[in-house]
Symmetry: C2
Subunit: 134 residues, 2 copies
DNA sequence: CGGGATCCCGATAGATACTG
DNA sequence: CAGTATCTATCGGGATCCCG
């Protein structure tokens, strides 16, 4: 059993760590924001409501599965609302909630940071890449 | 070949879309921020420099591989600096750069948003989950 | 039109073991 | 102590088919 000690210690550490992560709202929402499609959907909806097919056209590279999946999770989180109009061909509209709009603002802040520091990062990368191995 | 048309169309769309993504600094940095370990490392280093082993202890659930990988990419991006002290047991310190500190600030903003809206999201989720299927 | 269900694959996180 | 190398399990995500 002595050989498992280290692994088990880390296991326990991870358990505590996981609890921390779960308890921490930041990380919960961080991986929501981080999701590639989430930011695109939120940005796409920021100007106003859109239909499903409009979204899939505007976002272009997304598969129906991921679009639906993203929309559902965002709906669940109260980021947007889904409105079904039972016309002959069903019509579904998606629209940001106030919460969603505030998320859009946060994403804007991230975007601003990214844009204002992008060249710095870029230069750092080039410098790093030209370094000799040692 | 006619059967591939739809897929190929989407493929081309994805290609253009990918180009857009690559050109857009926001997305580049967004998936940096979004990375689970990045936020933890940056937060850990915010108060001051730390050694490799200190980091691995403080962050707890991380494997050496991921820690190194994360540290390297952050170093490359100019978020932190790596200082090697060739003592008898080698000593390596990691420290945030000014750029890294500004990233820490951004993460704080994200954290603030997350904390102030977490209960909203939580309520939305509960509401959503209690909805009957239809 | 707007999805749900299913299968499948490539990427990647993480464990483990070894090295300077 | 500070990593590196390798292998595997997991999973996001795309393709496809089908339903309401």
């Amino acid at each position: 059993m002595a050989t498992m000690t280290a692994a088990q210690k880390r296991d326990r550490a991870r358990a505590e760590y996981d609890a921390f992560i779960k308890a921490c709202p930041t990380n919960q929402l961080l991986d929501r924001i981080s999701d590639k499609w989430v930011s695109l959907v939120v940005s796409a909806l920021a100007p106003g409501p859109m239909r499903y097919s409009d979204l899939s056209r505007k976002i272009a590279g997304v598969s129906p599965k991921m679009l639906t999946q993203t929309l559902r999770s965002l709906e669940r989180d109260g980021i947007l609302v889904r409105t079904v109009t039972p016309s002959v061909p069903v019509r579904v509209d998606y629209e940001l909630t106030p919460l969603g709009s505030s998320l859009a603002l946060l994403l804007t802040a991230v975007k601003d940071w990214a844009e204002s520091h992008f060249d710095e990062v870029h230069r750092a990368r080039e410098l790093y890449d030209t370094q000799p191995a040692g």
